[in-house]
């Protein structure tokens, strides 16, 4: 069953070439409608009560809005707050809200909704997947309907970015509890219907404050999990765009076809070969460095990702301010790896288990890495796992030697400072940098501190840093306005139109 999509795609490829069936192109294209393909169906549509990226990929900026907003490049731009001021000590944020905003059910929007939404997210019964975003908030005050003042108990350099996330969507007290099935937000699209297992349909919100937005009347999100079926849906014209295309191996076919445009952008996903730093032999930095020397990143990218993906040398996205290129720190050098292993007391290598979650990058990457490590005497037993046991055993229980996973939260290098995290890594130097970072607001200083943080974990070779996960998608020629990069999980269609 697991190898089925690959086999199917291979057969499809052969059959497609043999029969030379040309795509007919979509029948009469409806220029006010777009159909977007997604790999997974969202479990529900309430971004304040779940971590599934699919929720954000339907709702972010389309249905729901937050105080600030993240744009395609990952910059913070105005959202429901058209401007804001931050006090000199970084503890008080004064948000000035937009005039004329209404929820889809006709109820008005004002600062009371902001207070409600933020208090709900940080409150006792909250099931917000990113409750930590709101941890620094001490109080939310509403001096007037168009002003919300948020006071923090400590400075938080990422506060404005976090307030632009979908987890911080400003939901209304009247509708918040029903958002899972009938989402009511303030965005330019309204929820229309959900055909379970097949599609979610959004329609234009005629009362949106800016009459020029959106440009489309209808957006359909269709859920197609099988890569071969995704390719069929795109080629037959059922789907206009597949921003995260599962059939990476078929992108070359589509790229050669002038009916389609292939877009490869970046995501916030640092893909790492994670090591259990608390367990022998990975508690020895020489062993961890040896593994870094033994792994050839480009071969992993070529083999597991068909060449899409940017190598990384630390846990930081290359497109972010403060990025330091550390990919040259441990060049591919099996001889050096062997020397280091011998120094650490493993002249004949050792045996270990690598537990792999379901994504293709992990399963394929794991096989390539196992072959590379075998060259220096490290013998891996591959153990594929489903997500649920992976989370329970590897992530929560720290019961693992090695694993491969992509960490998709933006700017999440601070996870190396969590004492109970599954890497089991502890560094006072790193903790000091993180501490200063949390109190620093000035951008240049923050970038410098991020640089220090990247160097420390790279020198300690906490994990073997592999590549930045690409966002590889395909769309019909003539469609514009979709995000090329993915700073947050989203399919923001507010600017999408047909040329």
């Amino acid at each position: 069953m697991r190898s089925f999509p690959v086999t199917a795609a291979a057969i499809l490829l052969a059959a497609g070439v043999a029969m030379t069936v040309a795509p007919t192109g979509a029948a009469a294209q409806n220029r006010s409608r777009v159909v977007i393909g997604m790999q997974l169906e969202p479990p529900h549509l309430d971004p304040t009560a779940g971590a599934a990226a699919a929720i954000d990929e339907v709702t972010y900026s389309n249905l729901f809005e937050s105080l600030t907003r993240i744009d395609e490049r990952g910059e913070v731009i105005p959202g429901l707050a058209e401007r804001w001021e931050v006090s000199a000590d970084g503890l008080t944020y004064t948000f000035h809200l937009r005039v004329g905003v209404k929820y889809h059910d006709g109820t008005g929007f004002d600062s009371a909704d902001v207070k409600f939404a933020l208090d709900r997210a940080r409150g006792d019964g909250s099931v917000n997947a990113q409750k930590g975003y709101f941890a620094a908030i001490k109080a939310v005050e509403t001096p007037d309907p168009l002003t919300a003042v948020v006071t923090l108990s400590r400075p938080d350099g990422r506060f404005l970015f976090n307030m632009g996330s979908n987890d911080a969507a400003i939901v209304a007290p009247e509708s918040a509890d029903a958002n899972k099935q009938h989402p009511v937000g303030t965005g330019p699209f309204k929820f229309d219907r959900w055909v379970s297992g097949d599609r979610v349909v959004l329609v234009r919100n005629p009362d949106f404050r800016d009459p020029a937005t959106p440009k489309l009347n209808e957006v359909v999100f269709r859920f197609i999990s099988d890569p071969a079926a995704q390719l069929n849906a795109v080629r037959s014209g059922d789907v206009d765009a597949f921003p995260n295309f599962g059939a990476t191996e078929s992108l070359a076919i589509l790229e050669a076809d002038r009916n389609f445009v292939v877009k490869v952008g970046t995501t916030e996903g640092e893909t790492v070969l994670a090591l259990n730093n608390g367990r022998k032999p990975f508690n020895d930095v020489r062993v961890r460095r040896a593994l870094a020397y033994a792994v050839n990143r480009q071969d992993v990218i070529d083999g597991a990702m068909f060449g899409y993906g940017t190598p990384i040398g630390s846990h930081f996205a290359p497109h972010r301010a403060g990025y330091v290129d550390l990919t040259g720190l441990y060049p591919h050098d099996p001889a050096k790896a062997k020397t280091l292993l011998a120094e650490a007391g493993y002249p004949n290598g050792f045996d270990a288990v690598i537990r792999l979650p379901p994504p293709v990058y992990a399963r394929r990457g794991g096989e390539i890495i196992a072959a590379q490590l075998a060259e220096v005497g490290v013998r891996l037993r591959i153990e594929p796992m489903e997500w649920a046991p992976w989370l329970e055993r590897v992530f929560k229980g720290k019961d693992y030697d090695m694993t491969i996973v992509s960490h998709v939260e933006p700017l999440d290098i601070d996870i190396y400072n969590r004492s109970d995290y599954y890497f089991d890594y502890h560094s006072d130097r790193f903790a000091a940098v993180m501490d200063e970072l949390s109190r620093t607001i000035e951008p240049d200083r923050r970038a410098a501190l991020y640089g220090d943080a990247q160097r420390i974990i790279a020198e300690d070779s906490v994990n073997v840093f592999l590549f930045q996960l690409p966002k590889a998608g395909v769309q019909r020629a003539g469609l514009t306005g979709l995000w090329e990069n993915s700073p947050v999980p989203a399919n923001d269609v507010t600017a999408v139109s047909w040329q």
Binding site: V21, G50, D124, V127, A233, L391
Partner: protein, 315 residues
């Protein structure tokens, strides 16, 4: 007949009760925390505890089993943990795809297989027989998902007659629904037909060798009349068994073809629910499938009794 039905219904109830025990215990020992899976790697312990309490996962297993069974008996299937909607609605939404699909597939299968099987038997060891057997061999050998992909290549991407997959929903009307089920039904139906044609052929051949067939021919009945009145009726027993098995299989086992055509059927719901650890949906969906399979078998048993009165009088 009453005793026969009573015994059958008792077995049916016992089967379902055992199924409920097995599925509950299996899900208890399956690793994976549904709350952690929903909230992801950045969730805080207090948030996880809040969600677990909301889902009722903090209660002991026997209490949860009794609550579940009690709900089932009173017709309350509970609420899905991931989707947040009543499980009954979720399953109904999927059944309206799966049952028509399985039905259409069996229609295609029997419409193709019965005439072909009878033809092959009647023309035994002649070109028509070899032709049917070759078709059937091919049908058994070709994986149905691959055949589905071929149909999509020809009819969706090449000719543009059908969408490559998906289900518009019954609200779109019967036309679009039938259109969306056509390719999947032929995919499933033709591959099932390959098996059914072989079974039909051998069942008919077996009956053709019986003494009463020779007697019927000897008393002057025409070939066609013997086929209709004596051979087909008796050959129907093994054929019905296979049709029943195939239909029961298609209700939950069409998942691979559902994936090719991205159809929201019951098999796919079950698959998703297992990977998302939506335990209540898994349990209910398994029970619904078990109930349907049992019901199909019961129908087949009753049908036996109708076409062949011997078993019930003998017992």
């Amino acid at each position: 007949m009453i005793g026969f039905l009573g015994r059958r219904l008792l077995t049916l109830g016992l089967t379902l009760w055992l199924t409920s025990l097995v599925v509950f215990v299996v899900l208890e020992v399956l690793p994976g925390d549904p709350a952690l899976l929903m909230l992801g790697v950045d969730a805080r312990p207090d948030t996880l505890a809040a969600l677990r309490a909301q889902m009722g996962l903090d209660r002991p297993a026997p209490v949860r089993y009794l609550a579940w069974i009690g709900g089932l008996l009173t017709g309350d299937l509970g609420t899905s943990q991931t989707y947040g909607v009543p499980v009954a609605d979720l399953i109904r939404d999927r059944l309206v795809v799966t049952v028509p699909l399985a039905g259409l597939a069996m229609l295609v299968s029997t419409a193709v297989a019965l005439p072909l099987g009878m033809l092959a038997a009647a023309k035994r060891n002649r070109p028509a027989d070899y032709g049917v057997m070759a078709f059937s061999q091919l049908g058994v050998a070709v994986p149905n998902f691959w055949f589905g992909i071929l149909l999509v290549l020809w009819f969706s991407i090449g000719l543009g007659w059908f969408e490559a997959g998906g289900f518009p929903g019954w609200s779109a009307g019967i036309g679009p629904v039938l259109k969306s089920l056509t390719l999947p039904a032929f995919t499933l139906g033709l591959t099932e037909a390959a098996i059914l044609a072989r079974v039909t052929r051998s069942a008919v051949l077996d009956t053709l060798g019986e003494d009463y067939v020779r007697t019927a021919r000897a008393k002057g009945l025409s070939r066609g009349a013997v086929m209709r009145r004596h051979v087909l009726r008796n050959a129907l027993i093994p054929i019905t068994t296979i049709v029943g098995l195939q239909f029961a299989f298609l209700l939950g086992g069409a998942i691979v073809v559902e994936n090719v055509f991205f159809l929201p059927g019951l098999g796919r719901l079950l698959f998703q629910a297992i990977s998302q650890r939506d335990l209540i949906v898994v349990k209910d969906a398994v029970m619904v499938l078990a109930a349907m399979v049992v019901a199909v078998n019961l129908t087949v048993d009753i049908f036996y009794a109708v076409i062949d009165p011997r078993p019930k009088t003998a017992s």
